[in-house]
Amino acid sequence: MALFGSDFLKRLEYLSLVSRRVFRGSLLAQRRTTQFGAGIEFADHREYAAGDDLRYLDWNVYARHGDMLLKRFQEEEDLHVYFLLDCSPSMGFGDPAKFDLARRATAALAYVALANLDRISVIAFADRIVADFPLARGKNRILSLLEFLEDLPLEGGDTNFGASMQEFVRRNQRVGLAIVVSDLFAPDGFERGLDLLRHRRYEPHVLQLHDPREARPDLLGDVELFDVENGSTRKVTVTEKALATYRRLFDEHQAAVAEYCRERGIGCTQATTATPFDDLILRMMRVAGAVA
């Protein structure tokens, strides 16, 4: 079954309509940027300086008070939505693979954004940025996006979220919404990457995916663990006690991600691969306020 079949496209359209109804008044395209410019909405005044365009001088103020003040307007422009998609080999784990759900969710969110005249870009990362889909606007770009996502391979080694975000924020681009789609199984942690986004005035949102077998593995006895991300192996004897410890550590990790995001006002949605992508999108919008 194709990743983005006709059924998927139908559900995208439905999702677009539903999201419009549900999020009326707070759709992606109505977000205002913090840029001052040639908009129509008054923002504030500043002192006139030589060379300023006299068209923006507030003559009413000059007439009443004799002060030369220049009117400033908030510039309205398209919102930039960046999808930071984890394509490290660990995303290929699960049945269905986390990567499949991640791509579907990315496609769905991108479709909603494109439908609302926003600009979207998809950046695939692992230990670094491995591929990207350049900024695009308009629903007519959805097919090329789907093609990009479908062809996106799992590659790279251990997830290096911090390095990848470092590389991302260095790009000379406008800030916007940064939706991170990942399992956040990064040896060096997830905090540095999210902090970089925040500090560079991006508005990060986390969509963390995991497979139920990752949360509750069914291993027992003498096994050789094979890390699909870096190909390393480790011979261990999995006991009931070790399993219990594993479950505790995993739950602590999930809780740490949720707590980190909550404390910093970052939207966070955690889901398993058993969740249908459209339910995931609605839940993400409704609960986490991903596009407030």
């Binding site: 890390d227 991300e229 550590l249």
Partner: protein, 642 residues
Amino acid sequence: MSFAAPLALLWALLAIPIVVFYVLKIRLRQEPVSTTLFWNRIYDEKSPRSIWRRLRHWVSLLLQILLLAMLVLALASPYFLWEILQPRRIVLVIDDSASMRAEDVEPSRLDLAKQMALAEISGMRFRDEMAVVAAGTQPRVLCGLTGHERTLREAVDQVEPTDGVTAVAEAVELGRRLLADAPHGKIVVLSDGRFQDAEKLAKDEAVDFRTLGTPAGNVALTRFQVRRSLVDPIGYVILAEVANLSDESAERRLEIDLGDSPVDVFPLRLAPGETWSKTIEKVSVDGGHLVARLSGEDALAVDDVASAILPHRRRQRVVLVSEENLFLRMALAANPLVDLERITEPPASYDDDALYVFHRVVPEVALPRQAFFLDPREATDFWTVGGELADPIVVEQDEDSPLMQHVRLDNVVLPKARSLKPTGKAQTLAEAVSGDPLFFAVEERGRTALVLTVNLDEGDLTFRTAFPILVTNALGWFAGESGELQRALACGEVADVQLVDGDANADDGAASRFAVVSPTGAVDLLPNGSTTASLGPLDTCGIWRVVKVPVAEDAAEAGDEKLVEAANAPTAEVVTELAVNLASAQESDLRVPSELTNAGSPTVLSAGFAGWLNRPLWFWLAAMAFGLCVAEWFLYQRRWIG
């Protein structure tokens, strides 16, 4: 060290597949995981134990190899040379006589002896052999020399208490024969020492004498017999003896019952060691089981009851054919068992069950089956009549005949006695100086006749006490009750029993079987066609019965079980009964000789403990293999459950 089965060492080749499979096994299955972040944190925390983790797989293999080695060695049955050179031969002599029933030790002396015997069996070393001999009544080998523990234990379990007397000395002799010339032979005697020469036996170096019991006191019926009175046709005499076999005085009550009727009760107060004995005269036409019971409880119950068989007296129909003789009539009528009729002429026909007494009358035609002729004046088939004897004097009388018991005719004047000549073989009971028989018995062709040639109207015979005694003897003789005493047997005795009376039952011998029923209800069938039997040794106190059981046509299909059931039925025809009592003061005396007293229980414990130490080498190898199994199981569980 050598091996009994060296070929079993080939099983060691199993080590090869074990190692191969183990190496294959430790190639662990690979499990892909999305990240080892969490696993690393878990196992890196346990780094101090990592050396053990790395080694334990090889330790496990080592344990398996060791396990195989233990099992292979156990199968090869290794042994040391000294085991071959020093095997012990032990004969366990267990006293199961009546005194071992005593309950002065828990649960009883015999049970304690059995426990000690089992402990001794547990203490056997590999290659030791043991035999079990029971020493009650007569020694019995319950199990010959064997090293098989289970067989020996079963033999010990077979030992049941008997009521017989101790036969330890004989059992020890039997043990000596079993041991023959075994170099490390030993006889272990488990007894209370209540038999002759116990002290001497205890000093025997080849005998390990282990005494059980305490100096417990006991009051016992040591004698109990009954017999019919010699002078009183319905009287009987009881001889009872009670002994206080303790060091303290005792108060008891002796109750004697005949069937369900009480006969007498004697309150007894016995000093330590005192023996009370009494002869009691009673009367009863009825016979039956005479039972004596001592009230109260003591350590041994079997000697508190004794039985005896009192012969039954049948009434006797006597027809007196006589004109009249007062003395004769009164002598006959005085017997309470006699139903007397008097007629003057001989009857036309005779009743075979009746005794006909002819006084001066002789039937002309035939003689009855039983006839007592007094002063016959005519000849018959049995005798011819001669002349009168003037004053005959009895010069010789048959002292041994029951007809002449307590009868003295030495000085009796017997004028006008007739001279009678028996035509056939006759038993002369009293003879005149002339050689003429004055009193004789004739038995011929199924007829019995007793002839007294004395003229009762003359002389002083009828005035003498000898006359009624003579008449009573004659009545008893005709009644066939010669057995005045049916002796109660001592436990362990052998009794000879007449099963078939002459040739009367020869015809139906094939249609019936004789069986002996013990007081406990156990039945022993006697061989087909037996006319006499030697029963015994009778080692259970109580009433033994010999019964005649009819054999049904389907007996072949039914087997002996039906006969056994019929023998125990109350309707079974009783041929004879035998009373068996302990009647042994030595056996009833439970006081263990002080020279023989030793502690029994510690022996039980030490022998039981020694049993574990004396196991063969293969046992310990197998035990170690089991231990290794447990260790491997522990490692396995530790690996998986943590």
